[in-house]
Amino acid sequence: MAQITLIEAVTQALAYEMAHDDSVVVLGEDVGVNGGVFRATQGLQEKFGELRVLDTPLDETTIAGLTVGLAVQGMKPVAEAQFEGFIYPMMEQIACHAARLRHRTRGRMTVPAVWRAPWGGGIRAPEHHSEANEHLFTNIPGLRVVLPSSPARAYGLLLAAIRDPDPVMFFEPKRIYRQYKEEVPDDGEALPLDVCFVLRDGTDVTLVTWGAQVKEALEAADALAEEGISAEVIDVATLTPLDFDTIAESVTKTGRCVIVHEAPRTAGFGAEIAARLMEECFYDLLAPVQRVTGYDTHIPLFRLEMKYLPSVERIVDAAKRTLAVS
């Protein structure tokens, strides 16, 4: 069994599901012959033809609307936004239709579609190629927002997203597309779409994160361990609908929590988790929940971008702050 990267796991999941379900189609810019600018759809057009792996005209609104139309007529489209920073023109179709058609028609019409997009910073890319905007979608009822952070989770969650009868936003942390390989059996096994992943057990503080920052969170946990601090690390992965129970259970145990995400702090999804912890775990908290996030500014061009992204150092500092107060 081959070792594969996160991006290869995406391709593997797409290929698996397309082979097993004729209604699965892929569409977007450059997804065909070119296999996507990151090669996520590499080889799919050759295998499944030009219609099932469709290069669209360059208009994100068109891609999003086609996706809704396809899904309503019984297909399972997987649309690609070439970068998450170009997703805005898709929002009207996603928010007004994909997330609402089941609701609008009392179940008559449904939108079993997936929107994939390479997400996040840290690859020295040009402007608009480094956005982390998951919060644009986490407050849209009727959607699911998924953000895998390992090859295995990318494979299992993408399969689940495609099979899910409702629309799913699937953001792929491009910084770790090729970070490491792991064995991912191509067995078609999906992962649940509403369970957080506890990546590391700990007792002193809970680090809650998602996407590429899982890497920094795990490294921070290592660094903390060296200082005798035991950090539990949770990969939220399925942001909405949120599996709050897993987070609550951990924080009830540790009494301390640091939420890490690379999107700007204000009104990022970290705020929701902090608010929930306040509402539901107030009396178990030994210290205020801390957020370590991107700053409330645009992610800078790449000369400065690493100073924008949450670092291991910032996470460790925040964790220690929660421990300093008790």
């Binding site: 189609v25 669209t56 068109t62 809704v68 139309g69 007004c96 028609t105 009727g142």
Partner: protein, 361 residues
């Protein structure tokens, strides 16, 4: 001078405003007078239905309502040319097309009466789209449907309607553009009723026709008298045939006029002159077809009266059914969000139910 490309756009009309034939080559369907009577009857019942809706709104039994007064030929022409397996994606006022396809007046009332169940069409094709308020977005739903039909190799056509105003929205352009690039079985009908709420046609576009927007996408296009149902239906049939035969998409501009206010929340006297409206009434599609049928001996005053009475009965029944519909339970807010209610929402749903009980008893 070297020429890169040339285009010509046809204008199609069979009946002038007085119901006189302006050309001899009537299409086949128009020679079947029984069928033409059926079309006429639906135009009349659409109008009766529409008046009833406005009356319901005026007496507080409906929310805002968008009337279709004056669009009957365009809408019935579109709906009647389609097959049941085709898919229709409308904006909000195309009742004539929808009634033909089986949407029930009670469903229209429910939707505008603040009840989502109006969108759960009981008799119309399940693959017809719900009313679509965000202007233009339905065009892409139709393009996506057409793509699904093409991928599955089905001989079906997706039809969308869009207003003169809506044809300014990028979605319309995106839809016809991808339909042209991929030869999708799509028919996009611009129902040009001269107004987008208060904005007149000339402020929407400097183009002399809206039909010519198709040229941007490399599509065949035609401008038709949208108050002449024969012209509308003929253009539809041609476009549907092309699409069904794998020849790709088409655009039709149906030139008509919005005889009423934009919606019941609007007062058109604020922004348009009476003369213009008076002039537009002389082109009313309903009497035009009636005159033509009467001249052919296929219709008369007695039949008209009888049919109007039947329509009244029908609408009364529909209104009754609507008014007797109980409001949905509060948890309906949650019950169609996802195929299965996510665990995280269970408590909220229960809270809503509890609060509702508490407030009511």
């Amino acid at each position: 001078m070297s020429i890169a490309a040339k285009f010509e756009i046809e204008y199609l009309q069979y009946l002038d405003k007085d119901g006189k034939e302006v050309r001899k080559d009537l299409p086949a369907f128009a020679k079947d007078l029984d069928q033409m009577v059926e079309l006429y009857k639906l135009m009349v019942s659409t109008r009766v239905f529409d008046a009833k809706s406005v009356a319901l709104q005026r007496t507080g039994k409906l929310g805002t309502y968008a009337s279709c007064l004056g669009h009957e030929a365009a809408h019935v022409g579109i709906g009647s040319a389609m097959k049941r397996e085709d898919s229709l994606a409308v904006s909000y006022r195309e009742y004539g097309a929808q009634l033909y396809r089986g949407v029930q007046p009670r469903e229209v009332y429910m939707y505008w009466g603040g009840d989502e169940r109006g969108n759960d069409f009981a008799k119309a094709p399940k693959h017809d789209f719900a009313w679509c308020v965000p202007i233009g977005t339905q065009c892409l739903h139709a393009a996506g449907s057409a793509l699904a039909f093409k991928i599955r190799n089905e001989k079906r056509v997706a039809v969308c309607t869009i207003g003169d105003g809506g044809s300014s929205k990028g979605d319309f352009y995106g839809a016809i553009n991808v339909a042209g690039a991929q030869k999708l079985p799509l028919v996009a009908v611009i129902v040009n009723n001269q107004w987008a709420i208060s904005v007149p046609r000339k402020i929407q576009s400097g183009a002399e026709t809206l039909a010519q927007k198709a040229i941007a996408a490399g599509l065949p296009t035609i401008q038709v008298d949208g108050n002449d149902i024969i012209a509308v239906r003929k253009a539809m049939e041609d476009a549907l045939d092309r699409a069904r035969n794998g020849e790709g998409a088409s655009v039709i501009e149906a030139v008509t006029y919005r005889l009423g206010d934009h919606t019941t929340a609007d007062d058109a006297r604020r922004y348009r002159g009476e003369d213009e409206v008076k002039e537009a009434w002389t082109k009313d599609p309903v009497p035009r077809l009636r005159k033509w049928l009467e001249a052919k001996g296929a219709w008369d005053e007695t039949k008209e009266k009888a049919w109007l009475a039947e329509c009244d009965d029908w609408m009364d029944k529909e209104v009754d059914a609507y008014l007797q519909t109980k409001t949905q339970p509060v948890e309906a807010m949650f019950d169609y969000l996802y195929a299965e209610l996510p665990a995280d929402l269970v408590a909220q749903r229960q809270q809503a139910i509890d609060l509702d009980r508490k407030s009511h008893g």
